[in-house]
Symmetry: C2
Subunit: 474 residues, 2 copies
């Protein structure tokens, strides 16, 4: 009999699932198909590799193909799954040697997401990149490095196509770059470009960078980006990239800027084409809907990672927040489930942290009032600024906290934080509070840490809770 656990996609969710299943049930056949060369790489590390803060691609790979094989997993790279037949319980696989059918007992769709460039015109010109694959990261790193400093040791992963990448080392680095899109990736990338001393333009349609972090944090990020010498084009419409063969300029409603490099980071979309007509259901985001255990609407077909939604801890509704931890965790849980031990994939709280030059930023939960209202809440927010340490202790830094709560129940709905001193990691306190349905009144009374080097008597989070609680009671 043949009931292998078949996994489509060899990155965080897919390999977590395969590894966990094999560990729990060593006799089960586990097959992973990955259409590219690359497996198990750290998307989030790319900006720091491009910046030059990380010098080794290999260090950003969690698992090598050999290690995967040593776990007893049957890994096939350059194998693209092109069809799923849930009735027959088979997948169609394009292999280097032709098309094959493979039966499955359980199937995991872990196809991830892809960077989109539409509606930006000209994204197909040379020297226009997206940041969603190590290949782009390697090319950008080589292109930004002046020829006299070229160092192939930074391309230290077997997967790197040296013939394609090393020519970038020989070119003179670009002098002016346009980063189109000011979300997480845009903010992280302009830091990398400034490190290489490029004249840097950041185009952002909304009125602030990183809108997911809300107004208070967005304004602070804008100030740091500006201080770093980045030319910030906010509220900009109609960006188009233009040039003969390679990028020469960016045209937007605020004028034209001559550039010799452009990066487009305006968003990602879930890769769901494979299961489009299989009975699998999709959420409003276009990502796959799953149940508590990661199973789709089709029996025996699971989905995890950037192609799948998850239940939001605050709203209880299905939501799409494609990030690394929840992908790993969902994969692991599904691996355990298909090995016979049903394990929930967990909820998302929308926790995210972002380094914007020296500013540490965090966000969690529902902070947008429209979204909160759509979920049935009556949101109230307060923003405070407080010290990160005792005022007299060296290194004390202003920390801005915004908390949002439901005015009727007093329940905390979300929050953001920004500051230079240990600000981002404080978001975990709020994430924990959200998972447990904490009210602002309770939060105000939590016994949080105090010692002059680490926190003032009233931690910024407590100050914010106190102020918001006052507003709720008023």
């Amino acid at each position: 009999m043949s009931d292998p656990f078949v996994v489509v996609g060899g990155d965080a969710a897919g390999l977590s699932a395969a590894s966990k299943c094999k560990r729990e049930d060593p006799d089960r056949e586990v097959i992973v198909y990955e259409k590219s060369d690359w497996i198990s790489y750290a998307h989030c590390g790319m900006p720091y590799y491009i910046k030059g803060e990380v010098d080794s691609i290999a260090s950003m790979l969690s698992l090598s193909p050999t290690e995967v094989s040593e776990r007893g997993i049957d890994l096939h790279r350059h194998h693209e799954v092109t069809g799923v037949d849930p009735r027959e319980q088979t997948v169609t696989v394009e292999t280097p040697d032709g098309t094959v059918k493979q039966s499955y007992g359980d199937l995991l769709i872990a196809t991830g997401a892809r960077a989109v460039t539409a509606p930006i015109e000209g994204a197909d010109l040379d020297d226009v990149f997206t940041i969603h694959h190590m290949h782009s990261a390697a090319a950008l790193r080589a292109l930004l490095t002046p020829p006299e400093k070229a160092d192939e040791s930074v391309l230290d992963a077997d997967y790197v196509d040296l013939d394609a990448i090393t020519p970038y080392f020989d070119r003179e680095p670009p002098e002016t770059v346009a980063m189109v899109g000011g979300g997480y990736v845009g903010v992280e990338m302009v830091e990398a470009f400034r490190e290489w001393d490029l004249e840097t333009h950041l185009y952002q349609r909304p009125s602030r960078p990183a809108p997911a972090f809300g107004e208070a944090v967005g304004d602070e990020i804008a100030a740091y980006v500006d201080d770093a010498g980045v030319d910030l084009h906010l509220n900009t419409e109609g960006e188009a990239i233009a040039g003969e063969d390679s990028v020469e300029r960016v045209v937007a409603d605020d004028g034209t800027v001559a550039v010799d490099l452009a990066v487009v980071g305006i968003g990602i979309r879930p890769n769901t084409e494979l299961v489009m007509d299989t009975g699998v259901e999709f959420g409003e985001s276009g990502a796959v809907r799953i149940d508590e255990y990661g199973q789709t609407a089709v029996d025996g077909v699971y989905a995890a990672g950037d192609c799948a939604e998850k239940t939001h801890a605050v709203t209880g509704e299905s939501d799409w927040v494609p990030l690394g931890l929840t992908a790993n965790r969902a994969g692991r849980a599904i691996g355990q489930t298909v090995a016979g031990d049903p394990t929930p994939v967990g909820e998302i709280a929308g926790t995210a942290v972002l380094k914007a030059f020296e500013l540490e930023c965090g966000r969690v939960g529902i902070i947008d009032h429209d979204r909160a209202e759509a979920a049935g809440f009556d949101p109230v927010s307060e923003t405070i600024t407080a010290g990160s340490r005792s005022g007299y202790y060296p290194g004390n830094a202003e920390t801005t906290v915004t908390l949002t709560a439901d005015s009727e129940s007093g329940r905390l709905l979300g929050g953001t934080i920004a500051g230079e001193d240990r600000a981002a990691i404080r978001i975990d306190t709020l994430a924990t509070a959200l998972h447990k349905g904490t009210t602002v009144d309770e939060l105000e009374r939590f016994d949080l840490a105090y010692a002059p080097p680490f926190s003032p008597v009233w931690d910024p989070i407590l100050v914010a809770a106190k102020v918001l609680n006052g507003s709720l009671e008023a």
Copy 2:
């Protein structure tokens, strides 16, 4: 009619209560008696002032007498309350001009705690200090400063008795110091002494420094203390300080060491003599028992701060954890309550953070198995070490987390953490989890932050929860 709110003690709890009461009920007469010169000062800042990291005593004072008066509070320094008569609702006050009686409507006992030196012999010799008052801090700072670097600007608070303190500047600094007691204060003080290049001996009866932080953290603290060149005398019994007039040596069961400075930091005791025979009840710690609103067993008599117990969030039992935040919070709540708006003082989770040289340490909840068993739990603990950031990101530091849970319910009971990179503040995540009665199974699935500069995919807290959850299920 005369129903003033009378407060005994002008530090964190007392002045928080007075200020809040006056703000909520401006017509209420609020009287504060403080027996010393000093009000509202930051105990926790003293080691850093002595070390020379903080140069201004005034910066460690939250409120000046003038500011207190401007709030409409009737503050009397050098006034010692020596008696309470709950039937008459009066207190007896020794003033500089003689003894008076003052009636009260509500009374707050915020008398704090004092450093103990018993059973250490010789603590009354010259150049033997305790660290529980700014006067000692000022003297030590002056004594440690070489005469050629004497700078009176570091004594910038009106309260400093310059006649008593400035002579310390003229003396050659001590060369060898014995720190007797290796709790929080001992660990913080040896850092200060090493900064001034003293040969430093730390005497500790238990087998580790800072036992409240448990074995794993205690061992790490010991390693940092040792690396800093401190001579660590663990498991040491029978320390005695000896000398003619001033300290000359410390004698313990591991031998005699010649020293010219000694500091005793072996603990504090609540100041409760004032209410000993008033009907007020006391806990096992000797501190005052209070109810949810800070009221003692005697109607209209409240207690807050280091002289009072509080309910522990994990055990639900009354416990004594004398620290700054809970003192401030309880005072503030009592001020609000006596102003007519009953407000709970909040619970303690036993949260504490400590800097041991470059090591950041945190602890929360019940981590001692004997204590956990006494509270009716069946404790299981696991200790893990994980990175503070992605392994490839600069600044990643090993972080040790110990979690303790009840094996039957899976409920988290407590935890500790240590590491050089943003470790201490992560304890707030665990404090929040404890206040909300979180199980380890839940904690393992929380959506905590991930970004290479701030946390690996699996934060050390999640790794610990995963491992402990595995043990609980096994």
